[in-house]
């Protein structure tokens, strides 16, 4: 086995410099709940590991522009304990808290969930529905990229060589709006989503749906932002007819695989049901948030 180097710098500039100087496979280490599993199984053999947990901006949650900036390496448990964040974006927080057991929650981060690029990653649909934007640092400086544009396929991202996700920004939640995330798993804890559905919707003063984002997880190579499903809600009341249209649009957008967790047909059906239920929760939240 080749020698592996471990570094835990105190700033993002140092991370970028370390990655730029490295040859071979380098990996960022956040909570390690994907990376160490992949290393133990011999699936990845990095020459350099750069731990970002000693960097303040990657490990803190701060209020910003009416929304929140969440360090890419902040763990799920800390996200769940942040009362203001939970109040503004309960769906995002729920999704982050669904990742693994308490042991996993102590370590698992949004940056890791996103960059590991599993089609079933729980926090990703909720972040996309919320319109979250990543701050990325790399050899050419910093850039801002919507979370929706990071994963390009299973295990693949649009990050360039030597780039690192520093933090994820959630915008201010609009008035009369609410978000929700639901996933379906065959047991009550500790499993990977068969389907995930995230919805973020807003109501106008008359209670009509004025904006919506609908995102499905685990039914395609990456999380799907389904505009047809959002259009099914926008412009009218979120009533049974709208939910019926949402259900149909969600099913139509699915491109799932068959595997041991569920057949493609089953996943397609469940995506409609979950989208509908998540919309119900988001609607309740939007109504109580005026």
């Amino acid at each position: 086995m080749n020698a592996m180097r471990y570094e835990a710098p105190g700033s993002i500039d140092e991370v970028v410099a370390l990655l730029a100087a490295a040859d071979g496979d380098s990996r960022i280490l956040a909570g390690g709940t994907d990376l160490l599993v992949q290393m133990q199984s011999g699936f990845v053999k990095p020459g350099l590991i750069v731990d970002v947990k000693k960097i303040a901006e990657a490990t803190t949650i701060t209020a910003e522009d009416g929304g929140f900036r969440i360090g890419a390496a902040v763990c799920g448990a800390e996200i769940g304990e942040h009362a203001d964040l939970k109040e503004a974006w309960p769906g995002v927080v729920e999704a982050a808290e669904l990742i693994g057991s308490v042991q996993i929650q102590a370590r698992a981060s949004l940056g890791g969930n996103l960059c590991n690029a599993s089609p079933a990653a729980d926090s990703v649909p909720a972040l996309i529905a919320a319109g979250a934007v990543c701050s990325i640092a790399g050899p050419k400086g910093r850039r801002e990229v919507p979370v929706a544009d990071i994963a390009t396929g299973p295990g693949e991202t649009s990050l360039g060589t030597g780039e690192v996700v520093v933090s994820i920004h959630l915008p201010a939640q609009s008035p009369r709006s609410g978000d929700a995330y639901l996933r379906f798993i065959p047991r009550t804890e500790m499993d990977i989503a068969v389907v995930g559905a995230a919805i973020n919707l807003s109501l106008d003063e008359n209670g009509q749906c004025s904006a919506a984002r609908v995102v499905l997880g685990a039914v395609a190579p990456t999380a799907l932002l389904v505009t047809e499903a959002a259009d099914a809600l926008i412009g009218g009341p979120v009533d049974d007819a709208a939910l019926e249209r949402l259900d149909a649009a969600a099913r139509a957008a699915c491109r799932p695989i068959d595997d041991k967790r569920g057949t493609a047909d089953y996943r397609t059906k469940v995506s409609g049901v979950l989208a509908r239920r998540a919309a119900g929760i988001a609607l309740e939240r939007a109504r109580s948030n005026s």
């Binding site: 086995m1 020698a3 592996m4 471990y6 390690g32 160490l36 133990q40 693994g100 308490v102 102590a106």
Partner: protein, 157 residues
């Protein structure tokens, strides 16, 4: 291969060790520090047999690197009893037969302690959810859950 010199706190005492960068915290505890109470069940984060408390949160030692212990505080099963006096959780696991082969027990005890440190009065459902990351092949979980609830009641006095 260059070894890292790591300074940390283990069970409240300052500790130092040398480790290779790819060694997990579990490897270091067991093989370098002879703290073999933490068990290796799966090495993939699924079973919780390796549970330790890192800076106040229960985590899988198999999914952390030994070098990550630098500057942190680690609590293991070895730190749970006070000398000869067992922690109430340990005693009630024995009294209420919450173990058979015992392989999972250190992990359950460490995880349960982390729960009771945070929440002295958990419901049965809360105990079951909290311990969902700890697997047991033998007991069927019921006695474990009951022993945790008994310990919680006793510790509340």
């Amino acid at each position: 291969m260059t070894k890292h010199h790591v300074s940390t706190t283990i069970n409240g005492e300052p500790a130092e060790f040398l480790c290779e960068p790819q060694q997990t915290l579990l490897d270091v505890l067991r093989d370098e520090l002879n703290l073999t109470g933490s068990k290796e069940g799966c090495s993939s984060g699924d079973c919780g047999a390796c549970s330790v408390i890192m800076d106040g949160r229960v985590a899988c030692a198999c999914l952390a690197l030994g070098v990550e212990a630098e500057g942190r505080s680690i609590e293991t099963i070895e730190g749970m009893a006070e000398g000869e006096t067992l922690h109430p959780l340990q005693r009630l696991f024995l009294e209420e037969a919450a173990l058979q082969c015992g392989y999972c027990t250190p992990g359950f005890l460490v995880a349960a302690k982390a729960l009771l440190d945070r929440k002295p009065d958990p419901t049965e459902t809360e105990v079951r959810f909290w311990l969902a990351g700890n697997l047991c092949r033998c007991t069927g979980y019921d006695k474990i859950v009951r022993a945790v609830l008994s310990a919680a009641a006793e510790m509340r006095g």
